[in-house]
Each structure stands twice: as C-alpha cells, then as structure tokens.
Symmetry: C2
Subunit: 201 residues, 2 copies
C-alpha cells in the first residue's frame, strides 16, 4: 500500500504491529486506529508497559525462565521438589506444564532447540547452565520435555548424552495418543509409539 | 490463568496486548514473548512509535481525517477536485476508497454514524464541519459513502436533509456494496461500481 495514504507516524505504527507474529496488514491497521483512539494516558501506559517489561524482565539465574527478580518464583519456592528438573524449550512450555497443576519440581528453559538449519547450535542454548545445575544442586532426575519433532528429539538425545556421565537419571515425556483424540485421526508414527509405550492396566 | 505464572511486568504486557481488538490470550502471550525477545533498541523504538503516533496524529482541520500536519495530504493536494466531497465514517474508509485509484476529489470523515443505541447523536460527528465546508468552499457535490446498513443509511439521509437547502447536489453510493457489510471490507471493483452508480438523494 503506498505510504502516502497514511501520515508517517501512523504508517510506522501500522508497520510495527504488522511485524508482530500472527498480525496481518488488516489487523495491524485496525489495532493502530484503536491505539490512536485511546486516551493519552492509556497510550502512554501502553508504551511504558512495553518499555518496562523489556527493561525488567530477564532470565532467571538458575533456570533461565523469564522473571523480574534474580530467581524466578518457581526456583525460589521452597515447597517445590529441588531434585527433579524438567527441561523445556520456551517459557511458554513452563506455563503449559504449570497449568496441569501436577508438576511440583523445577524447570530449565533452553531457549530453543538445536537447529542447524536456523543456525542454532548447542552454544546458543542454556545447556551449560543445565550441566552446572546438575553438578552443583544434587539433581537426581532430568525430564526432557522438548517438542516431539525431529529437532526436539535431537536436542533431547544430545543433552541426555551429556548428562548421563554425571550419574543423573534422564527421562523423556511419553509419546502417545493425545487424551480425547479419536484413534482414527492419529498418525502412524504416533500410533507406533503409543503401542510401544503401552502399559498394563 | 493465575497471575503468579508470570512476573508482574510480563503479566501487564500480555494484558495490554490482550486488550487490543482481535487479539486473544494465546496471541497476546505469543506477542509479549516476541517483544521481550526484541533487541533493546527495537523495544524502545516500538514504545516510542506508539507514543509518537498518539502525540502527532490528530484530525485534519478541513476533513477530520487523521494526519500529522494541519491539513491532511489529500486536502492539501492541489491536483484534487475541490468541488466534490465524499463523506465517510472512518479514516479506514478513506484508505479503502483511495485504493480504488478512481476517486480524485476530497473526503469528509464523520468519525462514526448516528447510532442512538450507542449514544452517538449528530453532535458527536463532524457534521457541523461538513456544513461549514459546503458553505465556504463552493462544494458542488457531496457523495454520501457511509456504510450500507441501517445506521449508515440513516446518517446519509439525515445529512442530505441538512445539505440540500444549501443548494448542493447530494448523492449516495450505489448498492454495489453488499448490503450489511462494512465499507472497509469491500473490494476495489465493488467500490468503483458503487462510485459510478451513485444516485441523487
């Protein structure tokens, strides 16, 4: 769309929203007009929230999850089991597991998966920090909860090979049919894994 | 979702995005993490863009469209026909009509439609400004391009009754626009047909 339709400050605002994940040009335009229609205070507050969050939020010293204090609320919670660490790719995955309300130990956030295609090697992930934790904190089990795709699998195997010589138990989330899903819609690989992992009732 | 999952600054950021039109909780979370992953400069620039746009953008003195100068680029363009004014609801509608590249006269942005249900009467719209323009600027035709729904129609008829005593020709976009649809979602060809088939009210 020719830039001349919009005043430059508005065009830039639309551009910024359009560059966010999942927001197309129409939505970006709609959001930009919504922001312009805000009260002065609300717009100022929106801008400050972005600036503030970006300034205050950083990685937890221990688990690399996002936090605004030195240790995240999970790492600094004395009631949680400190012997087990669940390794996930992203902060979003911590939220997903916390919502189950069934996991009460610690996490370690890798910040991605090994992906040579995208130029992400082990050094780009917080693997060193994980090994340091296992060495220092008397961890007895590490649960690999990276995604169930090729890259997540590779990352899980890579890390497990580094951890096993340290004498720690390394486990992987079970593969199988998602709860509530129809069997006929499960793909072959999932069905094979579900069969392999069958348990006695 | 319990707030304790997130650091307060992050929770607030997610909230802000969630309050934007068309953005649900999942998208808001995704966008917030995306913003946190930005470089410091990019986040600062994003916040500044919001602040700037909100500070600089205001209504054009003439047509009430959004602009960052006293007159918008359309009103200050000497090449455009000054005798014809197309009355639309929103700045978005100006963009939609400009994209047809078939309209080369001026606009007037009402800022909404008469809608007693939403407490919007004629005084909330820029109708006074329109009448002043018609009186002062030697306008020969006013094209009513409010949406083709009940409120848009009512607004068009209301304004045409105010304008006709001034001796100006008042026309209405033809029903080439799908009835009930918002103007901003009409495609270019439909908009051109609607312009060509405009009728006198």
């Amino acid at each position: 769309m020719p830039a001349s339709f919009y005043a430059p400050a508005l065009a830039k605002l639309i551009d910024k929203f359009n560059s966010l994940p999942g927001i197309g040009p129409k939505s970006a335009q709609r959001i930009a007009f919504y922001v312009l229609a805000m009260s002065d205070d609300a717009a100022e507050d929106f801008a400050d929230t972005i600036r503030n969050a970006h300034k205050k939020i950083h990685k937890c010293k221990k688990c690399c999850n996002l936090t605004d204090s030195e240790l995240c609320p999970i790492c600094s919670n004395d009631k949680r089991d400190k012997k087990t660490v669940c390794v996930v790719q992203d902060p979003k995955d911590v939220i997903a597991l916390e919502k189950t309300q069934e996991y009460s130990a610690l996490y370690h956030v890798l910040g991605g998966v090994i992906s040579p295609m995208n130029g992400i090697g082990p050094d780009e992930l917080s693997i060193k920090e994980l090994i340091a934790r296992v060495n220092e904190d008397n961890v007895s089990e590490v649960i690999m909860a990276t995604s169930a795709n090729a890259e997540g699998e590779t990352t899980a195997i890579y890390i497990s090979r580094l951890l096993k010589p340290l004498g720690v138990k390394v486990t992987r989330l079970a593969y199988g049919i998602p709860v509530g899903a129809d069997l006929e819609y499960a793909d072959e690989v999932t069905l094979v894994r579900a069969l392999e992992g069958r348990r006695e009732l």
